[in-house]
Symmetry: C2
Subunit: 180 residues, 2 copies
Amino acid sequence: MSVVLTAARLADEVGFENVTLAAVASRLGVRIPSLYNHVKGLPGLRRELALYGIRELNKRLQGAAIGKESDKAIESMLYAYRSFVRERPGLYQATLHAPDPQDREVQEASQAIIETVLTVLEPFHFKYEDALHVVRGFRSVAHGFVSLEAAGGFGLSLDTDESYRRLISVFLRGLHCSSL
Amino acid sequence: MSVVLTAARLADEVGFENVTLAAVASRLGVRIPSLYNHVKGLPGLRRELALYGIRELNKRLQGAAIGKESDKAIESMLYAYRSFVRERPGLYQATLHAPDPQDREVQEASQAIIETVLTVLEPFHFKYEDALHVVRGFRSVAHGFVSLEAAGGFGLSLDTDESYRRLISVFLRGLHCSSL
DNA sequence: CACGACAAACTAATGTAGTTAGCTTAAAAT
DNA sequence: ATTTTAAGCTAACTACATTAGTTTGTCGTG
């Protein structure tokens, strides 16, 4: 299996910050320097992990919106976002650690996610700029909840499924209700 | 200056993940092993950083709510959250990396933040459990936006101040509007 | 005043990780 | 048949964290 796929699996098991070249090499049954024939050191591996993760996340979001529209589509994508992070926690972490956020490919992949979300917002008929603000809100809600949950940031006492359900509901109501 | 305060400053300058004992020692004009007289190695330093960061954040949130109530108080606290992360990005990162989320002191400090937010939610007269869900939403919105912004996750083209203002507005409208 | 305890520094040594340089080998391309 | 390339390797170097054991000064107490 490729170095990046191996590293992604490893990340999910031990966390992104514990993905070392040593561990990847060991898992591949190979010596550390051999990896340098495939990735540009640890920074290069992390960049490729980030790229892979962003693209995978986008696929999930796209899949979640198929056959749904407006509120249902947004809700479905938010749940897909959470599922992705739960299934691939290490890979998701990697998406947040692109060494250089200016990297062209990374930016393109991120832009693709923005387009995905923009598409499901079309039924709302927002002005383009307004829709971009909403996309940022969407990502904030999804990332915020899901990363706090993954980090164990929520106490144990209360059902997190219900918390997420309600947060989604608040977000959607906020988008619709124009009072205030 | 204390080891933890020095490390916190350093974290803000170079990022939490680049806080090494070597760098802290160098800044204090001391050899690395000397730090072991003050903190329990790197894990111990990180734990103390997390604790310090959580408590500082709580102070900020409390300060922001003084003399405000309901919507204004929540809005003010969300802005304070963002200010804190902008001023002390490394220290904030530390709050998310408590080595052991079960740690008693860490849990108490986190609980104090929850209490702080619960206090400003009192005017809403939520049931206790409902209020807890809202607190999670509050933290998700704040953390989500602010950490994506800090990670350079938002493109450059659009004003982030405006995005945050709107997200807050959506959140508050969502809390009030009961349609759906 | 002397002595012991303690705080806080130090040196030395060990282990792990990332990186680079340079070598080997087998398969693919010319 | 020869060259190129892909993919592995060893060896050596650096940085960092950690532990063990040592030194030194201060401070309180007998």
